[in-house]
Structure formats: C-alpha cells, structure tokens
C-alpha cells in the first residue's frame, strides 16, 4: 500500500537536467573538457582515414601494376650495369604490357652558359625511352614529350622540380638550357610523378641524342614496366632474371605503389600516438566531470534534502545525479564529435583529400562519453543518495 508510481523516463531526464540549467558556465566548461578529448580522437581517426582514402584514390588512378628494375651492386661492391638489351627482353615476358627505361647520363644542366659549373641544382640528366611517360603514368604540365625526331637532336624535357630549380615557368620557342656543354631546346615540362618521383628532379633527353652528343654508354639504369594486374607477383619473380640473365642478383626490383602504401603504414604509428594523446585528454575531461559532480553534490545538499522530504527514494537521488553526469558528458560528446568532424573536414579539404570519418569512430566516441559520464557520476551519485535527509536539510 505504501508504494508510489515510477517516474516516467521523461521526468527522470527533466530532473537530471534541472541541475545543469542553473549553472550554464560550469556545464559548458566541464563539457568542453570532454569535447576536446573526443574531438582530438575523432580528428585523428578522421584525418588518418581521409589520408588513407586519398591514397586509395591515388593508387586507383595510378595503378599498382608498375614494377621497376635497377642495377644494384656486384659481388665485389662495384656498381652493376644492366645489359643494353634489357628493355627488349623485359617486353618479352608474357604479362608485361609495356616497358620503358631511363639511363643516367654524365653531365649537368644549367639555365645558361654563364652559371658557375658548381651550381648543378642537383638535377640528373637521364636518357629516356619514348614510352616512359605512358608506362610511369606521368603527365605533361606544358609543352610536348620527345618524339622520334626530337629524340635524336638536342631537345630536353624537364621534371617539375628541375624546371623550378632552373627558374623556368613557361616554354617559348627559343627557350634553351645549357646541358653537358651544349644548348638544348626545351620542349616540355612534366607534372609531378607519383610513382616515379625520381623523374621530378631530372632533365630527360632522347636516347639517340644522349649517345651522340653526351657520350652516353647506352646502358639503362632503371626499367619501368606495366604488367597485367593479376600477374604482378609472377612478373616480379622473373623480372631480375630477365633483366640481367647473367647476374640476376645484381638487379633491384621494386614496386613503387608499395612505397606509397608503406608511407601510409608509418603514419599509422603516429596515428596511434595521437589517439593515445586524445584518450588522455578524454580522461582529463572525465576527471573534470567527476570534479564538477562532486562539487555539485556538496553544494546541493539542501536540494537533496528537500527532494528526500518530497518523497524521493535513495535510488531516485542516485539516478538523478547519474543522469546529470551523463548528460554533462553527453553534451561534451556531441560537441566533440561535431568539432572532430569539422577539424577533419577542414584539414582534408585543405589537402584536397576526400573527407572520411568512420561511423564506428563517431559511435565509439559518443559511447565512450556515456561510459565516462557514468563512471564520473557514480561516486558523487552514491554519496548524494546516502546523505541523511536531516543532515542535508541542516546544511542550508
């Protein structure tokens, strides 16, 4: 007979929120602590996944079927050489779609003949096959690529970094550079090459011109080859032996897309570290909420006593403070998720990446705040519920 009805969930929420309404600044500050922690974690995860999405997009565009072969070192430690016929032999491998090579040429390139010889600008001069651009997936920024005619004459195409260092932004009909002691006409400038970044710092001349004018020995120093996507591993296994049948161990084979992916993997360790820092911030935020709740219980002893005199059971007082603590943390959680998404979007857009925030991170972040709210509120709530009503009223 001595039994009251249950409070509706709405009344439980209203009562839990009542303590927050009257102290907006304190609510804001303690929620801010949680928000910063959650925002840091969401931001780290979001930026990492956005960067991954960008890598995936790049790899989809560039393809992962490019393999390179380069001479390594001989058994005695001297620099090895690839046979002149290497490209032709590589092309004969069944699944190979295309192959092209470059060869390092002795000589330097200068803006004109008055530059002191020591200021080489670290630009490598390379002889290039005509199929190089198609095979490496490199685009032209301006001008044109070498053709059968220009490859035999003093014509040069600059990588983007090389053009920058020579101070060349545009191509006129009479733009020339001083290369290996001769004037070479500039015919084109390349875009940045994602899979063959070594081309960015190179000056590329035709194979014939290199041999005829620059004394190039005709040995390729790097082979680029595109393969049927499904047979990349098989081709990789035979590439060294094909490129140099006499000394397959002197050939270094690599897959440039692996290097891009590996760079992303090293980012993962960094992401883990940042995530840990975010977790620490979240923990500190949780301590802030606990602190706020403890003070709140101390300050509101009279309210607790009044509620007990109005018929509140101990567990209803406990629930009120638990709900209040979770609302406090939940507010921080919502703010943190929004802030984290905003940070991710701002950073990703500034880098030209696609924005990607995984749903599990949002759900996890919000779930974490609710558990933090429960943990932080537990002790104050239990204390509030165990306060004797007479003592609570007497404190007023």
């Amino acid at each position: 007979m001595l039994k009251t009805g249950r409070m509706s969930p709405r009344d439980v929420l209203r009562t839990g929120a009542s303590g927050l309404r009257t102290r907006p600044l304190r609510v804001f500050l303690s929620a801010l602590g949680i928000a910063i922690g959650i925002a840091a974690m969401i931001g780290v995860v979001g930026i990492s996944t956005s960067s991954h999405a960008e890598l995936q997009r790049t790899l989809d565009r560039l393809g992962t079927n490019l393999l390179t072969a380069a001479p390594g070192q001989t058994f005695t430690g001297a620099e090895a050489k690839l046979p002149k016929s290497t490209v032709d032999m590589v092309r004969r491998i069944g699944p190979v779609e295309s192959a092209a090579s470059t060869g390092d040429v002795d000589g330097y390139v200068y803006r004109n003949d008055r530059i002191p010889p020591a200021e080489t600008g670290s630009i490598n001069v390379k002889a290039a096959d005509l199929g190089l651009l198609a095979t490496t997936g490199t685009q032209l920024a301006r001008g044109s690529w070498l053709n059968k005619a220009t490859a035999r004459y003093p014509a040069v195409v600059l990588g983007t970094g090389a053009a920058d260092r020579l101070g060349i932004g545009s191509i006129e009909s009479d733009t020339r550079v001083w290369l290996g002691g001769t004037w070479f006409t500039l015919v084109g400038i390349l875009d940045k090459s994602a899979l063959a970044p070594e081309l960015d710092d190179s000056a590329l001349v035709g194979w014939g011109a290199a041999e005829r004018i620059l004394g190039f020995d005709g040995h390729p120093t790097k082979i680029y080859t595109r393969t049927v996507e499904s047979a990349v591993e098989e081709v990789r296994d035979v590439l060294a032996a094909t490129a140099n049948p006499q000394a397959p161990t002197e050939v270094k084979v690599s897959r440039p897309s692996d290097a891009l992916a590996a760079k992303n993997a090293t980012d993962k360790a960094f992401t883990g570290l940042m995530l840990g820092l975010g977790a620490v911030a979240l923990l500190v935020g949780g301590v802030g909420v606990a602190n706020t709740m403890v003070i709140s219980v101390l300050e509101r002893r009279a309210e607790i006593g009044l509620r007990r005199s109005l018929g509140a059971r101990r567990n209803q007082i406990r629930t009120q403070f638990l709900v209040e603590s979770q609302l406090l943390a939940g507010l921080g959680g919502i703010g943190g998720v929004l802030l984290g998404i905003a940070v991710t979007a701002a950073y990703a857009l500034s880098q030209g990446w696609p924005v990607s925030v995984p749903v599990w991170a949002i759900a996890g972040g919000f779930g974490a705040t609710l558990s933090i709210g429960a943990l932080a509120g537990l002790y104050p709530a239990v204390r509030a519920s165990q306060l004797p009503p007479t003592e609570a009223l007497g404190a007023a």
């Binding site: 001595l2 039994k3 009251t4 006593g305 007990r308 005199s309 101990r314």
Partner: protein, 230 residues
C-alpha cells in the same frame, strides 16, 4: 474517527553521548492544529525530523498515519513522505530556475504523477494560497511571504494528511508572517492536520494546542490540562 496521525511512544534520540530527545510520548489526532514550541537546542527540530520520518529514533516507537516507521524500508518511508506528509521549511527551499508553478508541481514528482496532471494540481494549489496571478514568476521575482506561500502550496499539492511547518514565519517580517499563519489556519479549517515547530511563543500562543519542549522533554502540553479556565 480519531485515529492518531502522529504517535510518539517513549521516543529517545541520541547522537553519541548527547541525548536530543529523552523518552517523549506525544499524539496528534486528525484535524489538529498544534505548535511544538521551545528554545533552540530544546529538541524540537529532532521531533520534527522524527515526525517527518527524515530520521529514526534510537529507541521507542514512531507511528505516522498508523505505520510504525521502524518496520518501513527506504522505499516505503519515501512513499509515506510523498503521499502523507507535507513539509514547509524556514528557508523555503525553492528551486531558483523554476517558476512558481513548476516548483509546486515538484511536490508531486515522486508520486509518479504525469507532468500535465502535476501542473494542473499545482495551479489549483497556488489558487488556494492566493498566488494564482504569480504562477509563472520565479522565486527571485517574489517577496519572502510569497515564496513561503509557494512552499506551502508545494507541501499541500499532494493533499497530505499531515502538514509539518518548521519555523514557517522565521524568515519573514511580521506582516508576511501573519499572512502565512492565516493561511495555515485556513488549511487546518479545511481538515488538514497542521503541526508548526517554532521558538516564537507568540506564534505558539495563537494556536489551539501548544507542546512545550525543553532539554529533550515535554515540559508542558496544553491538551493535558484541558481544565476549564478559572
């Protein structure tokens, strides 16, 4: 008809070495209007806490509305407070952020009554204390006397059998105090049992029954010497 609303039987309450209440026996019947009067430290606040079931006696029996509170757990005791007892405090204890209406409606919160119904009951309780035109005012927009009337409305919104008022005029000027006392008398006239705890002899003298407390004992109960005046 006269079942006692409050029955204390040989009640003692000690805090460690000190005895706040020593073997008090006292009965309030339904429909009474009484004062418990005594100086501070006399034990009258302890009596209020025991009668209000906010505290339990060290020994002896406390019966409220026929329930021996020693046999009740937290849940039943809370239900007893929610449905049977209304409290009025010297300091009002109103929530600053809530309107008068919602403050009064809080009086029914723990009975499980839905919000709309709580507000309806609160509105009529505020009419009973003559504050119908102030229902959307917040406590800081009300005078002291008005605040105490809001607190009284909160105490009576659940139609309790027993209204316990602890120094209801203690924080008020004499004029507001008179209004509050008149209101309590009117509630008594409507049938509510009203017990007022006060140190003010004048207030006590204006009530039909006075129980005088000193040093934890009842030194005088006007109902026991109902000898016709000379």
């Amino acid at each position: 008809m006269n079942r006692p609303v409050v029955r204390l039987d040989n009640v003692t309450r000690s805090y460690g070495e000190t005895t706040a209440l020593a073997g008090v026996s006292l009965t309030f019947h339904r429909g009474e209007l009484a004062a418990i009067v005594g100086p501070s430290g006399s034990g009258k606040s302890t009596m209020l806490n025991l009668i209000g079931t906010l505290d339990r006696p060290t020994s002896g029996t406390v019966e409220i509305d026929g329930h021996d509170i020693a046999t009740l757990g937290d849940q039943e005791l809370s239900a007893l407070r929610a449905m049977t007892i209304g409290f009025v405090f010297q300091q009002f204890h109103l929530a600053a952020g809530l309107s008068a209406l919602d403050n009064v409606a809080e009086g029914l919160l723990y009975t499980g009554t839905p919000l709309a119904e709580r507000r309806r009951a609160a509105r009529s309780a505020l009419e009973r204390v003559d504050l119908a035109r102030r229902i959307y005012h917040r406590p800081n927009e009300l005078s002291g006397g008005e605040r105490q009337r809001v607190a009284i409305a909160r105490a009576l919104v659940g139609s309790p059998r027993l209204l316990l008022a602890d120094e209801p005029t203690g924080a008020l000027d004499s004029r507001s105090g008179d209004t509050v006392m008149a209101l309590l008398r009117a509630l008594h006239a409507d049938g509510t049992t009203v017990v007022i705890i006060t140190h003010d002899r004048e207030v006590a003298a204006s009530l039909p029954r006075q129980v005088q407390v000193r040093d934890g004992r009842i030194v005088h109960d006007s109902s026991r010497d109902r000898v016709p005046a000379c």
